[in-house]
């Protein structure tokens, strides 16, 4: 294992020290492992997300003006805990209530549930939106359902803009939920990730194979197949996503994220093929991000997210945002 770290169990604490050193405009609570925005909130709804670490810039990179008020950092690939989430809620609640943005993993869901109970005990009003957008997983009410991946970024941005406009908790939650339901994602891994505490790759992937539909924690996907060209991968993931939801007839927000170990030049190579595959299907990409937004430690590969938008969602998407990983209009 080759990583820029000091010790496997120090990675999270050290990374938070680095975030604090690099971004004086963020308040880092090292005890509770929170990254909190210092921008004024003035009586509006506050947004909190969080999850296991190892997916940076998600979530701490999205804390700031027009997006999250706080991010709770769990251990690597491990949901944060209810007391962290409560501390975050206490730090950012203005009385207008708190929206929890939760990726659909049992750990995250259960811990945010417990946090909501604790917050209620403290008189803090909460609502939650659960993102479950990974089409690689069969959807079913009998299981844990789909994993939450890239749509989370778009929920955080748009809900952040809605909160900044002074909308109520119910309304912000409704918009978040609308985005969440309108999003679909699919990822492909060329290599496994390696957890610092484990020291070797989480799964073996032969030199000539790839994992289609991989999870951001290295969860196996739909199938393992021989390594394909960018063109064929693009068509595979676009098909998987568009087979699941019809993206024609509305402006679409697209997010192509690297998984941590794939350089930008490769993302652009495959984005060219993705754009062509979408155009072939008559899908209109209104906004697009290409880069590392939701990663899986050092995994090589990418994930594509599409969100079916409308004028209102595009307006909120375009609203000013100032975070370390997403910034415009300010």
């Amino acid at each position: 294992m080759k990583k820029l770290i000091n010790a496997p169990d120090a990675v999270l604490a050290d990374a938070l020290r680095g975030v604090a050193a690099a971004h004086p405009e963020l308040a880092v609570d090292h005890e509770n492992r929170l990254v909190v925005s210092t921008a004024p909130r003035e009586g509006r709804v506050a947004l909190i997300s969080g999850g296991g670490s190892g997916h940076e810039p998600l979530h701490s990179g999205f804390v700031g003006v027009g997006m999250l008020d706080a991010a709770c950092a769990g251990e690597i690939f491990t949901s944060p805990t209810p007391d962290q989430m409560l501390a975050a809620a206490q730090a950012v609640d203005t009385g207008a209530g708190v929206l929890f943005i939760v990726k659909n993993y049992t750990g995250d869901v259960l811990n945010f549930e417990m946090a909501a109970e604790l917050a209620a005990d403290e008189g803090i009003q909460t609502a939650s939106v659960v993102v479950a957008d990974d089409v690689a997983v069969q959807d079913s009410t009998w299981t844990a359902g789909r994993r939450g991946v890239g749509t989370t970024v778009i929920v955080e941005k748009i809900a952040g803009a809605a909160a900044a406009e002074g909308k109520s908790l119910v309304d912000v939650a409704a918009i978040a939920d609308k985005v969440s339901r309108a999003g679909r994602s699919m990822g492909v891994a060329l290599t496994s990730c390696t957890l610092p505490a484990v020291g070797h790759p989480s799964f073996d992937l032969p030199d000539d194979e790839m994992e289609v539909g991989v999870g951001i924690h290295g969860e196996p996907g739909r199938k393992r197949v021989p390594l394909e060209s960018a063109h064929d991968i693009a068509h595979d993931i676009v098909s998987a996503i568009t087979d699941d939801l019809d993206f024609t007839g509305a402006p679409v927000i697209a997010l192509l994220s690297g998984l941590g170990g794939t350089p930008l030049i490769e993302l652009y190579v495959i984005y060219a093929d993705i754009a062509a595959a979408l155009a072939e299907r008559g899908i209109e990409i209104a906004r697009v991000l290409v880069g590392d937004y939701i990663t899986s430690l050092d995994m090589a590969g990418c994930s594509l997210t599409l969100v079916k938008a409308d004028d209102e969602l595009l307006r909120l998407w375009d609203a000013p945002v100032n975070t370390t990983a997403l910034r415009w209009g300010v």
Partner: protein
């Protein structure tokens, strides 16, 4: 033949469990690699190390059983994270709630307390037997424990029976297709692997059986 469980025994159990979980951390993580995200061993080891720290730091006399269980539950909730943190945390917190404020429980009380804890886990996680989760180990363990208590067995024998039932439940998860937790994302590819949470459950109950057996033989020899 002791058919009670004291908080001292429970504390001895927790200390022994921390050692066992640390020793088996890689094994649990390997199970979680196959159908999850490769952190269950690290999570449990970290959580129980924090429990021991808390026990070491506690001053004053032996706590009551519910005080001990609550402190463990709170520690697990705040230190483990992930699914197992909230579920094991809930287990201990709900055991604490069901426990009389005494220094010891009768075996019958202990069986009810464990049953209440497991009911809490089900209430939170909504898993049923066959979903390929820790519940597949806990449910048969509770039944075995309650049966043993009803038949007047010793605590050591009762926990041994519970541990054996848990081990069977754990092994029975192997062929199953997961319907809850992270392994459920794999669909059919989850079959052929033992559930890590069922494995850690069995470690906890094995250790409890061993500790109560040792304490019983200590009592005899004393």
């Amino acid at each position: 033949m002791a058919s009670t469980v004291t908080s001292a025994e429970l504390e001895a159990w927790l200390r022994a469990a921390a050692v066992e979980l640390a020793a088996h951390a890689d094994e649990l993580t390997a199970l979680d690699s196959a159908i999850g995200d490769a952190d269950h061993g690290t999570n449990m080891a970290r959580g129980f190390a924090a429990v021991i720290e808390k026990l070491d730091a506690a001053s004053g006399g032996e706590p009551t059983v519910p005080a001990l269980l609550k402190s463990v539950g709170m520690t697990l909730v705040s230190k483990v994270g992930g699914a197992s943190g909230s579920l094991y945390g809930t287990l201990f917190l709900d055991m604490a709630k069901a426990s009389p404020a005494e220094d010891a429980l009768t075996l019958a009380q202990a069986a009810d307390v464990v049953a209440a804890g497991v009911a809490g886990v089900v209430g939170r996680g909504h898993a049923v037997v066959g979903d390929k989760t820790m519940i597949d180990a806990w449910e048969p363990a509770v039944t075995a424990l309650q049966d043993a208590a009803a038949s007047g067995a010793s605590a050591a024998d009762a926990f041994a029976a519970a541990a054996a039932a848990a081990a069977q439940g754990r092994d029975a998860t192997e062929p199953l297709i997961a319907r809850k937790g992270r392994a459920s994302y794999l669909g059919e590819r989850s079959a052929g692997h033992i559930d890590p949470g069922a494995a850690s459950t069995t470690i906890l109950l094995d250790t409890l059986a061993r500790v109560t057996a040792e304490s019983a033989s200590d009592g005899k020899s004393a």
